[in-house]
Structures are given as C-alpha cells and as structure tokens.
C-alpha cells in the first residue's frame, strides 16, 4: 500500500489504518460519529495527500482543458476554482476534478486518488491526438501535499497562521499565500458541507503544517478526522463520491452534474450526451431517508410497487439527522420528493422516502 507523508502521524495519533484504493489511510482516530460532529460544530483536519494533482501548462493549456472538460472554463480567472468533469467519448464520467487557473496558461487539476493515473494518461492521449504540442502535462501528486481544514471555526484557526485576511476570501476562490510561513495555496472549499479550506503545500512540508494546525486549532476543538467521517459528512451534504455514485457508465445528467456540463461548447463526450438527452435518461440519482428501521448500503436493491427499479449507491446513518440516509438510482418517474420506495435490507423490504438534496445544509 502507498503511504502519504502523514502516515507515521496517523499511526501515532492511534488512527485505524485501512486500505483505501491501495492507499494506507486512517478511517478513524477515535470514533466516526465524534469526528463527524467535531467537523460540523468546530473543525476537523483531513489528510488528503492521496488525491492527485496534475499541472497543465503552455499556450494551448486552456484549449486542451476546454476539450477535456464538460465545464466551460471561458470566464474563469486565476483565484477562482471550478468543479469539472472528465468524460469519455460515451459521455460517461471518468472523474470529477477541481480546476485552479494558476496564472496565464497554467492550470492545476485536482483528481481523485484512484483515477489519477487514468486521468493523466487520458490527458496525454488528448494532447497527442489533437496535436496540442505546446502543452506540458505533469503529474505532481508525489511532491504535492494536501490537507482539508473543515468546520465552522476553520477560518478562525487558519487566520492564526495565514497573513492575509481570510474573511475576504470568497467561497470557491483560492489564494497563494503562506501557512505557518510555509508557501501554500489555499482555497475556500471542501467536501463536507461546512465552511472550510483546502490547503496545498510541498509534500515534505505538509507534516509541519499538519502539526501546526493541530497545535493552533487545539483550543478551538480541532480534531484529526478519518475517511469514515469524511464519507458521512459528504453524504449528508449530498455530495457524490467517485466509485459509488459515479463511474464511466454514469453520465452527468443522471447524477446532479448537469450544471457543470455546458452544451454550448465542444468537449469530448458531448455528441453522446446530446443523443442521450434526445432519447431520455432512464435513471436519476436521488436522495432518500429511511422511514422503516434499517440502514441501506451500497448495492442494495430499490423496489417500487413490488418491482425492482434501481439500487442504492451510498447509504449510512446520518449523525446530524439521527436517521439513515442514502443515495440511489431510480427511474426518472420516481424522482419526486415524497415518493415512497422500498429497499431490500437483508431479507426484508424497508420503506424509505425520496427527499430533496442536500440532506444537511449549513446556516450561513
């Protein structure tokens, strides 16, 4: 298994280490619910070093990314970050990525851990086939460290170690700065539904950053948080996970990613999506809460009026709501909030109700 620069620290903190896509990652340090609640009410610090970073530079960098991504990057400026999708020729989702323009003709693409190598090869293939000779594509994952600081007091914590006024940093915007005097890029974003920051710095410095943030954040209630709570937090926020809700057979319109798919411009997968839009999609991702007892899990079958109509993509117990929640694919006719479905949990069919997403929305 691959280890991040923080592996030794996780072990020292008593983290339970699991194999996560060939990465040795902490699933929890204490308990999932405690770490979940710490992030919702105070702050949590996450090791995200396993995710991929790809730098795309050169005069044709914008053109390559416009073709590779369904999102229109036309008006994006340095300091703004955007979510985007890499699609295959059939319109299937290869990855959901974040895009940071660094300066003129230079972009940083942040990928999922398991899809990074494939994304890299795919971008190289586009470069070669389309003759984007003036683009360099570099996998800088090994030398890039990443931490997520999430939760309502994360600004107060980070402000202690960042010189610029953070209250001026808008959501989904980035800043090149220093954190604890270590050069870093931060963005106001994350994957938990809370206010928070994603922090990028050199891999060899990320341990110092981790230590400093835990030190400074201690009095604010900051805690290290593992992948277990990361998953319950993102699910409550209605955020999708690559490999659960998305894979290469899933198109943006079937999940809730129509908004980052711009049919006004050309991109790989567009023709297939146009055809699918004409023909209609036969499934839609929805949120549900269990009304009967039980917890639905990935892969469980969904029934309506006795007929199997779909399947669960993610499900868990929501610590914030105190009930079982999940995401499922169902036929579009079943997608209305309030619709009653049944989920086969072991040998029983338990009732659930379709609800609008997200399950949890923070007060601003």
């Amino acid at each position: 298994m691959k280890k991040t620069a923080l592996y030794e620290r996780h072990a020292l903190l008593g983290g339970t280490i699991v194999d996560f896509g060939d990465w040795a990652m902490p699933v929890q340090y204490t308990k999932v619910i405690e770490e979940h609640n710490a992030t919702r009410h105070r702050a949590g610090l996450f090791d995200i070093c396993h995710m991929g970073e790809i730098e795309i530079k050169g005069r044709q960098a914008f053109d390559l990314l416009q073709l590779a991504l369904s999102r229109n990057l036309q008006n994006q400026y340095p300091g703004q970050m955007k979510l985007g999708l890499l699609l295959n020729a059939q319109g299937g989702i290869m990855d959901d990525v974040t895009v940071y323009p660094l300066k003129e003709d230079a972009y940083l693409l942040v990928t999922n851990a398991a899809t990074k190598d494939r994304d890299y090869q795919w971008l190289q293939k586009i470069k070669q086939e389309k003759g984007f000779d003036e683009v360099s594509i570099m996998d800088i994952s090994d030398r890039t460290g990443k931490l997520d600081l999430q939760g309502p007091v994360s600004e107060a914590i980070l402000q202690k170690v960042v010189p610029e006024p953070l209250n001026e940093l808008k959501y989904y915007h980035a800043l090149h700065t220093s954190v604890s005097s270590i050069p870093a890029m931060i963005s106001r974003s994350g994957y938990t539904g809370e206010d928070g920051f994603e922090i990028y710095a050199a891999a060899e410095k990320i341990g110092n950053l981790w230590d400093d943030l835990l030190d400074v954040g201690g009095s604010y209630g900051l805690r290290p948080v593992g992948l277990g709570a990361r998953d319950t937090l993102r699910l409550e926020a209605g955020l999708m996970l690559n490999g659960a809700e998305m894979d290469e057979t899933v198109t943006p319109y079937e999940v809730v990613y129509g908004w980052i798919t711009n049919m006004e411009k050309g991109f790989i997968g567009k023709a297939a999506l146009e055809q699918l839009k004409r023909e209609g999609f036969n499934r839609k991702l929805v949120g549900f809460t269990m009304t009967d007892r039980g917890i639905a899990r990935h892969g469980y079958k969904v029934f309506m009026e006795g007929q199997k109509v779909g399947y669960v993509t993610s499900g868990t117990f929501s610590p914030t709501l105190g009930k079982a929640i999940g995401l499922a694919f169902v036929p579009p006719v079943c997608q209305e909030p309030g619709t009653v479905i049944e989920i086969e949990i072991r040998n029983n069919r338990a009732k659930a109700r379709i609800v609008s997403l997200p399950f949890y929305k923070r007060k601003r």
Partner: protein
C-alpha cells in the same frame, strides 16, 4: 483496550459470547472486543421471538456507521427473548457488551452445546494472536 472477558461464559471465533444459565437457556451477545472493532453501533436488527436457529446461522445484525455485521449463533435453539432496549439504544452494546448490551436469549436444543466453545483465556489468546 477491551474490557476483561468474563470467565462465566463461553466465546466463539466470531466474537459472540454465550452465558449458559444452567436451565437450558442461554444469553447471547457480542464481546467488548467486537464492539470496539465495530465502533458507533447505530442499529441492531433483532430476530423474531420463536425463530429457530441452527449453529452457524445469522441470528441478528449489528450496524455501525460504516458497515453491517451479521451475528452468528454458535449454538442451535429457539429465540425466546430479545433485548428490546437495543431498538432505542443500540449503543448499549458499545457501553456494556457483556451486560446491558446482550442481544437474545435462546432455549438451547442441546444443553451441552456451549461447552465446545472457547473459555475466556482461550478467547483472549485468539484476540492477541489476531492483533499480531
């Protein structure tokens, strides 16, 4: 660190405990070590009273935030009682796996069935071996 495994009961390799009351009835639960591994128990699926189980059958299911685990009965018999408190407070298993967190009571088919299971020392040795 797990609590000490009580010596008044027997243990299975799947981390269930059986307390034989000597009148043909046994109480079944999961060990403190098992609840530590599961963490954060949020739901327990209990069997119907009257259900007949054969040794090795799934008798209940315990869900943590992240996963679901079947509880296998290491003995055969009929379910005569279930711990209804677990419906409202599944974390009783986390708090007191050997006491308040018991799961079911069984009328054993064979009063001596539990004797083939591990005693507390043997079970402790197994956990230690698992950790290494």
């Amino acid at each position: 660190m797990s609590k000490v495994n009580p010596t008044d009961r027997k243990y299975s390799k799947d981390h269930e405990w059986i307390l034989d009351h000597g009148d043909g009835i046994a109480t079944l639960g999961i060990t403190d070590h098992a609840q530590e591994l599961l963490t954060d128990i949020v739901y327990v699926e209990l069997p119907e009273i009257g259900k007949k189980v054969t040794s090795g059958d799934a008798i209940a299911a315990v869900e943590s935030v992240k996963s679901v685990s079947d509880i296998f009965s290491p003995i055969s018999g009929e379910v005569i009682d279930v711990n209804r408190k677990l419906e409202a407070s599944p974390n009783l298993i986390n708090a007191d796996a050997f006491g308040e967190g018991w799961i079911v009571k069984l009328n054993m088919d064979d009063a001596a069935a539990g004797s083939a299971l591990m005693n507390a020392d043997e079970y402790e040795s197994m956990i230690v071996a698992d950790r290494q």
